[in-house]
Amino acid sequence: MYHVLGIDGSFPLLYFIWLAPLVGAVVLWAFGPRLKSLAGPIGSALIGAAFVATLFSWNDATAISGTSAGAHQSMFSWLPGFSFGLLFDRLTLVWTLIITGVGFLIHVYSIGYMAGDRAVARFFAYMNFFVFAMLTLVLSDNFVGLLVGWGLVGLASYFLIGFWFERPSAVAAARKAFVINVLGDVGILYAIIVIVSKVGSIGYGATFAGVTTLFTPHELFIVCAAIFVGCAAKSAQVPLHTWLPDAMEGPTPVSALIHAATMVTAGVYLIARCAPLWTASPDARALVGAIGALTAIAGAVLGVAQWDIKRILAYSTMSQIGYMIMGVGVGAFDAGVLHFLTHAFFKAQLFLGAGIIIHHLASEQDVRRMGGLRKEMPFAFIAMGIGVLAICGIPGFSGYFSKDAVLYETLLAGHPVLYGIGVLTAGITAYYMFRLLFVTFFGPYRGNVDPSDLGIRHPELAGTAQSAGHHAEEEKDGHDHGVHAPAWLMTVPVAILIVPSILIGWLAFGGENSPWKRFFAPVFPHASGAAVAPIPELWSGIIVLVVVAIGIAVAYWRYGTATAQAGSVERLRLESVRMPRILTNAYYFDAAIDILFVRPSRWLGRIFGTVIDPMVIDGGVREVTHTAGWLGHLFRSFQTGLVRGYALYLVFGVACFVAYYAWIGAGR
């Protein structure tokens, strides 16, 4: 196992990579209103520069010398054991490339998508701030820096989900996301406290070096569980997943960057970074693997019941991250990270493609009102089609390699039940993704059909999600808003993303000797002893393919056949009406949280507001003033103005003096 602290003590290019987005954020915040349409290019340029710098640091990041790996830049040391710095090894390199690279593409896309919005500079400022925060998270060489980045990323997410703050649903969604994220922060903070008390340092190196010597197994499990609370909150694992579907209130580029490619994968990064901790604690691995699998299947089942295109993608994200968590949880670190890599590309592509559709259809998001778009929007069809093929794990596309790797390594690690759940989930994923494809792009166009005929119960909620800024613009100009942005800003990034969606999986081709495995061999500790494989890898692949094919066939039978397409209006209406309530209410998780936590908090707040605050606290202050007033009145009563009274006081004083000196004495 390699010492995770980098080679040299100095690598200043890291500062540029880390801080360039922050500079962008500050500049755009400060001068936003004056920059207007320049804000987008400025923000994108800075992220692009960071990406180029990352490419330049490839050699230093991958360098290995002795027992150290990567580059390191120490910043400052607060106490012995509390030193802060930036770390750039292979794991960080992968994340940084995605953050800056995909981030850059999404920034360019946003220039087109958000054009005409009245707060476009604020948007890019927030996006740059998010990139900075995410880089803080992955570049830190210690747990506290990680936590700082963790919290800032949650903050950026809050900003961006609630970007159109005139919508109360957006504000509520942002608040919900932030509160759940803070819960995760507490978990990580607790883990840091335990680590500091045991190891005396916050650095990764010191902690991992002392994993077997300084922690009892029970303590190690506690630390891992606390860290996993943070990961569950950030990566939307059950039971802290409820914020992710609501987070779709933000603009589509936000959903693409934050809630698909980067922020929600921070949990995966943390578990992969703390690989030594997980390798040493089998109980933690079992816990994480189980929850990952549970999330995967729960998300997939819920995805079947969604009608909003972004919500379908949101639940698919939750499910795929469940895969990643399961992968890194059972010890298949490189498989999990590979799935992160492929997922970043095809999910971003899916979201951006959805954004193109939404933008073109004047903010319509309900798939029931779409249909037959493959003739009208061929480019979107190709892009989303490729994304769907990738996510289903069709051979030849990137998702195939990563998903198979995760599943097979789970089986190798000795978790057949989790393997079964994962395979089943793959089938369900194929079903609902192809359902999305068929309903959206095939059949007649249903945008002109009356919403109630389609089973839509709240038409006024549909179609206004993405448009707060745009509608203002529309009412002002009165012209079709699809005209005022050059289409290439939105199509070119999506086109660029197609390539890795197909090809990047091939990095893992070749089994044990693939470039991917060799890349990560120095970073992740391999489980000792050769695992006995119950079935060969080829058979596992065939099983998964069969299940996926069944899923696709069911979807085709329900939505893709000619009769299904012709009668799509009636078919969709029936399905909307017959959808089980437990699915439409997301297993009643939100209701449970409301009853368990929200209502008692409100009740407590009411008590404090009506009883304790006015009576106890205000009452205390009032009593102080009353006492002061009462004392004042008391002393005032002595001032009678009568000479005789004063004379009496004098005599009384004299009598006291005389008595004192006569009876008690005049002192030593």
Partner: protein, 192 residues
Amino acid sequence: MIVFWILALFLIGTGVFTITAQKPVHSVVGLLGNFIALAIMYLTLNAEFLAVIQIVVYSGAILILFVFVIALLSSGVKPFDVGPDRMPKILWPAILLGIIALGTIVSSLLRTTAAPVTSSTRALYGQTGDANAFGSVTDFGTALFTSNLLPFEITALILMVAVIGVVLIAGDDAPARTKPKARNIPREPIAR
């Protein structure tokens, strides 16, 4: 011995009469009796000069001052009308406090033993002057103008300050305070 007790009784009696008389003039008379009794007591205490001073200054000057002020205040107004008593319950607490303080002094007196005065102490603390002439004019005068000259001069100053203060406070109707009334001076008739 008997002299002392008679004088003591007289002192206390006139004191009570002074503080309880209804008319101020009666109080003045009571005070006069008090001073005279006190002068005689000084005589028994070998303080001859002081006895005379007591009569001359205290009863001769200060009491007359009181009489003049009583006369001044009774002119033109209903003599010594009194308003409502604002502190009606003050009598008994005052007497009680007085008795407490008094009792404390007396009891502490009885408990202490005075330092014995022998002929040797007399030699230590004795003043210049003949012991036979203690308290006499000669003795007193010598002490006043030699070893206690400074207090004497300062006392003169105090008296001057008192006079000036009285003039300032009670003051006459100085011409500066009131504008001179325009007087109707008849003009000389023009000689025709």
